[in-house]
Structures are given as structure tokens and as C-alpha cells.
């Protein structure tokens, strides 16, 4: 029983935690290649060689950092990503953490991610990282509401807050079609929680790397790894909430989940670098004034659809 309920779920969640970010890095490499020439050691080896270099480089220390919080922040971000991955159902029975409120638990992971990203920038006690940290909080506090609305939208037809129920409610029609606004809005949340592309307010170029500006070596490795892992966890939740999770013909459920997650990751890897970084002020306005009302509309749509 221990094997069944503890060791086996642990194995596959941790495997996804390791493999997922690697595949995302490969996808990022493919996108970069499609946008311009890249050389180096080839698509499959490039993430590993980058990681190896980070392991060799010494970790930086600043003058008077909050040392423990600074080292904890990347590890906590990784732990949050792992927690998110544990919620993803791979099939009706393959669920590491199948609790009645897993949908809300994912929401709280999003909220705590903001805290952790802030902590990373704050703890270094340097100027550029500090600005990056505060800037990210503006984004983190804005996208959380959109995420809540969109996820409540998928809970309506499921009549439950458990992600497994959300999937079974999509037997007839996936939520991506049933609630057409939901997935696009949720993808924006995904870019925001991992501060990629247009929402890269934390580690942006105008701050010479933002919260990472004074971070080097192994700490940077864990940070970037956690950032990718968080996107993998996000893609798992997006798959569950909108793409019908394990549902699909011919293939076994877990394979479907993996394919759909890869598709979401590929879409996000392509969307990320496609847009210019938004200014923080415009970002907050966009989130509250444009996207939040759209999330309202999505919820109303979902409500009407669920009653019909």
C-alpha cells in the first residue's frame, strides 16, 4: 500500500519535475532557433551545458543580504512548482494529491509564488533586484484575480473544486471550447506566474536581470529551474482545467496529459518571446481594466452555459 500510495506518486511527480523543465528548455531552444541562428551544442544538450556552467560558477553574495531568505527563495519556488505538479491528475486513479479543493490549492500556490519571487529580489539588498521585486508584486497582485475568476468558471460545470471532477465534467466537451475565453486568459496567468515574455517584470532587461541581477552560480540554476518547473506545473493545471486532462481516444490517459502539457508548453514558449515587455503601470491597468472584466464575462458565460 505504501508503494502504491506513496512511492509511486512520488516517482512520477518527481520525474515530471525533472523532465518537464528540461523539455521546456528544449522547446525554448527550438523557438530561439526558429527566430534566428543559434549554434552551440545542439538542441538537446544546450540546457544541460548551461546548467553545468551554472554549477561551476561561484554563487554570489551581496554586502548584507538576508542570506537565509535569499537561498530559500529559489528552493521554495521549486517546492511550490512541485506542489502544483502533485495536483495534476494523470488519469482517474493517477493523482498524487487528490483533495476536494485542489483547484483552490493551486490558487494559493499562485499567491505564495508572488511572495517567493518578492523574497528573491528583496533579500539580496541591492538596488536593481529590489526594484524588480516590487515591480513583480504589482503584477502578482493583479493576475491573481483573473486566475480566480477563470478557475471558478471551470468549477461551475464540475460542481466541485476537485481537479478530477473538473476533468470528468469535460466528458462531452472540453472547457477550451465550452468557455472560449478561459484558456487565453489562463495562459496570460501562466506567463505572469513565471514572468516570461511580455510579463517579465521581475527579471527584466532594463534592470540588468532584475531579481536575478546579483544572483549567480548554483542559486541562479535553481531559480531558472524552478521558474521552468512552475510553468510545467501551470501547463498541467491548464491541461486539466481546459483541455480535458486524461480524456482522449486510443491512447492511455497519462500519455494524453503529457501530450497536452507539451502542447501548452510549446504554445507558451512561442508566445513568451513574441511580445515586447509591458511597462508596469500599463500592466496593472491592463489586468484590472481589460482582462478582469473579460474574466467576468468568462464567468458569466460559464454560468449561463452550465445552466443550459
Amino acid at each position: 500500500m505504501i508503494l502504491d500510495q506513496l512511492v509511486w506518486p512520488l516517482t512520477w511527480v518527481l520525474a515530471a519535475l525533472v523532465l518537464g523543465p528540461y523539455l521546456l528548455a528544449v522547446l525554448d531552444g527550438l523557438v530561439a532557433r526558429s527566430l534566428g541562428p543559434t549554434r552551440g551544442p545542439g538542441i538537446w544538450l544546450a540546457p544541460l551545458s548551461r546548467g553545468a556552467w551554472w554549477l561551476i560558477q561561484h554563487t554570489n553574495v551581496t554586502e548584507a543580504p538576508d542570506g537565509r531568505a535569499w537561498r530559500l527563495a529559489p528552493a521554495l519556488y521549486l517546492a511550490l512548482a512541485a506542489g502544483g505538479l502533485a495536483l495534476v491528475p494523470w488519469s482517474r486513479t493517477w493523482v498524487a494529491t487528490d483533495i476536494a479543493t485542489s483547484l483552490v490549492l493551486w490558487g494559493s500556490i499562485e499567491a505564495l509564488a508572488t511572495v517567493v519571487i518578492f523574497l528573491q529580489g528583496w533579500s539580496a539588498n541591492t538596488h536593481l533586484t529590489l526594484v524588480g521585486a516590487y515591480r513583480y508584486v504589482a503584477l502578482g497582485l493583479s493576475y491573481i484575480l483573473i486566475s480566480m475568476f477563470v478557475l471558478i468558471g471551470v468549477a461551475l460545470p464540475a460542481e466541485s473544486l476537485a481537479l478530477t471532477q473538473v476533468i470528468t465534467s469535460q466528458q462531452e466537451l472540453w472547457n477550451v471550447l465550452r468557455q472560449p475565453l478561459g484558456l487565453p486568459l489562463f495562459l496570460i496567468v501562466g506567463l505572469a506566474i513565471t514572468f516570461r515574455g511580455p510579463f517579465n517584470l521581475a527579471d527584466s532587461t532594463d534592470l540588468a536581470g532584475g531579481t536575478s541581477a546579483d544572483v549567480s552560480g548554483a542559486q541562479r540554476l535553481v531559480w531558472e529551474f524552478a521558474r521552468s518547473a512552475m510553468l510545467v506545473a501551470f501547463s498541467g493545471i491548464a491541461t486539466t482545467a481546459f483541455l480535458g486532462g486524461w480524456l482522449g481516444p486510443w491512447l492511455p490517459g497519462p500519455l494524453w496529459v503529457a501530450f497536452k502539457m507539451l502542447a501548452v508548453l510549446a504554445l507558451l514558449a512561442w508566445l513568451g518571446p513574441a511580445f515586447a515587455r509591458i511597462t508596469p503601470e500599463r500592466c496593472v491597468s491592463l489586468m484590472w481594466v481589460v482582462l478582469l472584466p473579460l474574466a467576468f464575462v468568462d464567468l458569466i458565460w460559464a454560468g449561463v452555459e452550465a445552466l443550459l
Partner: protein, 438 residues
């Protein structure tokens, strides 16, 4: 054994290079940006190579030492057309004088650095905190009371008298940024006071290095030159500036694209270039460079715009362009374009429109082999060059940037060209020497 295996793997990654640009170091930067083996980074913490490109004046050598010491071990240095700091050991120094050899030299240094331990750059500055603090104060922290003293070697931030925006007097952060801050013009150093992420005060401590133009602009002051060559050089200049703005906006692939266009400018087929540029501009718009990234602030006042001249003045609605008075251009039916707003976004709209106009003029001038008529003045990308070259105008920032958010301020800075013009032309690569030597 395990370590060497790791090192061999790491040596295959793109080389992370932090460029510290001295005088006339930009060309090295542009070359790096286009090289697929190199990864240019904005923070020395992310680099294993310090590339010093161009001459560093003695007054900035201390700052260079500070940047040098901020690279985490292991790292080494490479000097492109620059004299290495004397205290560096020979093993940690590679000098390169040829642009074409630069990427290869960087890759080689990186590989050597990871393979063996010799050649690692040592620390140059003494290992001492900025102020003595240990053992001072009540708790040995270097502090006195809540806010006093120099805990951990630095004083604490203190509130100013008043806030510019909403009257809340919270702490300000004052620091000097530059001259090797990669998102600023090379050589530019300023004292910045931030409150939150809003700039409260901005004072220039050292102006950016003078910017060298293509030789054709200097020739145009002496004798009539082919309009096609002049306009190609102008477009190239603006495209290289666009590279910086796009890097700032996080659009790396478009930034490289702008550089590639710039490299094709001197000799490429002009009709094709114009077509590529139109497509490029459309992509810029579609990918949110204007709508998402460029702020609608940083507007120059009338007087400032006049003193700045060039595209910045035209973006502010001032119709002034030496080309309009030139008979050569008149025969090409040159028409001046202006924008009204005069802010950062308008400036980029203006510059992009001027690039397109340059391609158009160059295409027609090339067909009819037109030359400029007047030699007493030339419109450079930086502004009109009558009797004197356009001067450094970085002091404008002291008025322009306070009140702006950090990212908006940097975007505004990138939309302006403030450096003086260098009295010497840029050394051109081998493709176009015949116009220069004729």
C-alpha cells in the same frame, strides 16, 4: 574526474560575455550580438568573460576595476582595442584587435578558462567593506540607534524633503550608475535618486563618449557625396540605435534582425532592403513595441527639442532639416516628416519613418546617381552639422527623467541620442573603403 566532465559540458554552452564598452567599442557589441556562440549578458554576475571594448579613459579605470571585481569566479578578461589594466597578470588577459577574430577569441578564452585553472582573473581591489563598521555602535553592527551609523558598511537610506508625485516622503535611494551600465550609452554616468521605482533626481556625472559617424557624413562637409551612400549610412545608424531599444524591450530576435538589416545597409540591394524594412516595421508594431512597451512620456519641450535638433526636434513638430535646403534632395522631392507629440513613442515613430524615407531616397538617388549640392551643412542622424558638430546634450535628462518610472526612463533614454559627435569618422569595415579613400 567528475568536475572535468562537468567543465567539458559547460564549455559547450554559448559564452556568457559582459561587455564593458569604452570609446568606440560599439562595433564589438554589434558583432557579439550577431554571433550565435556568444550570449551577451547585462549583469557581470551572469558572465564568465569580461570584454572591455574600446579605450577606457583613466578617470574610468577605477569603475572598470569595480566591474571587473564583480564577476563571480571563475572568469577571465578579453580586451578589444583597449589597453589592459596594468595590474592584471598576463595569463588573465587576452587582447584582440580584429573584429572578425573577436567571437573566436571569446570562445577560446571561455574554453581555456573552464579546462584549467590558470588564466582566472584575480581580484583587483582590496577586500575591505566600504566603511569600517565591525565592532562599532551598541551591538557591534556599526549602527547607532534605529537608523544611524553604517551597519554592514553602509548608511541607511533616509527620506528626502518631499515626494515629486504624491507627497509621501519615504526613503530615497541615491546611487551612481555607470559608466559601464550596459543599458546606457557607453561612458555615461549619472547620479540617480530613486524613490520607489520613480526617478526623483538625475544628475549627469560624465557625458557619454562621443559617437563616431560613418565617414560619408564627414566627406559631405567637404565635397558633394552620393545621396544614396549618405542615406544608407543614416538608415544604418538608426537601425543600430533601434537594436538597443529592442533589447531593452525584451524583443531579442527583432533586435538582432535590426542589426542584420543595419549590416546590409551599406551594400545591399536597396529595393530589397526597403521591402525587408517595411515587413520588419510591421512586425515591430504587431509585437507590441509601441503599444505595450514605449511610454508616452519623456516629451521634450519646444526649447529642448530645438537644442537637441535632428529627429528629436522633428518628432516634436519642429520642421527643421538641412536636407530640405539642399538642391540635390530637392530634386528628389524630399519632403520633411514630423510628429507632434515629441515623446518617446513619437520619437521612435519618427525614426522608423525616417529610416523608410532614407531607403526610399537612396533608391531614387541611386537610380539617377544624385549627389548632395551643399557642403556647408549636413544633416547627420544626430542633428544638423553646420559650423559646429552637434554637442553633447545629456544634461537634458536632468529635466526629462525625474518623475518617470525606471523602465519608462530607460526607454526614454534609449529613444534619444545625446552623445556629441566625434570629430573622427568611424572606421569602416573593408567593404566600403573606396568611397572613403576617393
Amino acid at each position: 574526474m567528475a568536475v572535468s566532465w562537468l567543465a567539458r559540458l559547460a564549455a559547450r554552452a554559448p559564452v556568457p560575455v559582459f561587455p564593458a564598452l569604452g570609446m568606440r567599442g560599439e562595433e564589438a557589441l554589434y558583432r557579439l550580438a550577431l554571433s550565435p556562440d556568444i550570449k551577451r549578458v547585462d549583469s557581470p554576475r551572469h558572465a564568465s568573460l569580461l570584454l572591455v571594448a574600446g579605450g577606457v579613459p583613466p578617470s574610468m579605470q577605477q569603475a572598470l576595476r569595480r566591474v571587473h571585481d564583480q564577476l563571480p569566479a571563475p572568469f577571465t578578461t578579453l580586451w578589444y582595442r583597449s589597453a589592459p589594466l596594468v595590474e592584471l597578470p598576463q595569463a588573465a588577459v587576452t587582447t584582440v584587435d580584429s573584429l572578425d577574430a573577436l567571437p573566436g577569441a571569446l570562445v577560446e578564452s571561455h574554453g581555456r578558462l573552464l579546462r584549467n585553472t590558470v588564466g582566472r582573473s584575480p581580484r583587483l581591489l582590496p577586500d575591505a567593506p566600504p566603511h569600517p563598521w565591525q565592532g562599532l555602535g551598541d551591538d557591534g553592527h556599526g549602527g547607532e540607534g534605529m537608523m544611524g551609523g553604517v551597519p554592514y558598511g553602509r548608511p541607511m537610506a533616509m527620506p528626502p524633503t518631499a515626494d515629486l508625485r504624491d507627497g509621501l516622503a519615504l526613503d530615497i535611494l541615491t546611487f551612481r550608475l555607470g559608466p559601464f551600465f550596459p543599458l546606457w550609452p557607453p561612458g555615461f554616468e549619472a547620479e540617480v535618486t530613486l524613490q520607489g521605482d520613480i526617478i526623483q533626481q538625475f544628475s549627469v556625472r560624465s557625458s557619454p563618449f562621443p559617437r563616431a559617424l560613418a565617414p560619408v557624413f564627414h566627406e559631405a562637409r567637404e565635397r558633394p557625396v552620393a545621396i544614396a551612400v549618405l542615406e544608407r549610412a543614416r538608415a544604418r545608424h538608426h537601425l543600430q540605435a533601434l537594436f538597443h531599444a529592442l533589447h531593452l524591450a525584451g524583443l531579442e530576435d527583432l533586435a538582432r534582425h535590426a542589426l542584420r538589416l543595419a549590416d546590409t545597409c551599406p551594400s545591399g540591394d536597396i529595393v530589397l532592403l526597403a521591402k525587408w524594412f517595411t515587413a520588419f516595421e510591421r512586425r515591430l508594431r504587431r509585437r507590441g513595441f509601441f503599444v505595450l512597451h514605449l511610454p508616452k512620456c519623456g516629451a521634450l519641450r519646444k526649447k529642448q527639442a530645438e537644442s537637441q535638433g535632428g529627429f528629436a526636434a522633428r518628432a516634436a513638430g519642429i520642421e527643421r532639416d538641412v536636407r530640405a535646403e539642399d538642391d540635390g534632395y530637392r530634386r528628389l522631392a524630399f519632403s520633411m516628416m514630423t510628429q507632434q507629440a515629441g515623446d518617446t513613442r513619437a520619437r521612435w515613430r519618427q525614426r522608423l519613418a525616417e529610416i523608410a524615407q532614407s531607403f526610399d531616397l537612396a533608391a531614387r538617388a541611386q537610380r539617377d546617381d544624385m549627389h548632395t549640392a551643399q557642403t556647408d551643412a549636413v544633416e547627420t542622424p544626430r542633428g544638423a552639422w553646420h559650423d559646429t558638430r552637434p554637442k553633447d546634450t545629456s544634461h537634458l535628462l536632468e529635466d526629462l527623467l525625474p518623475g518617470l518610472e525606471w523602465g519608462e526612463a530607460l526607454a526614454t533614454l534609449a529613444s534619444l541620442e545625446l552623445a556629441a559627435l566625434s570629430p573622427w569618422p568611424r572606421e569602416e569595415p573593408a567593404e566600403t573603403p573606396e568611397e572613403g579613400a576617393a
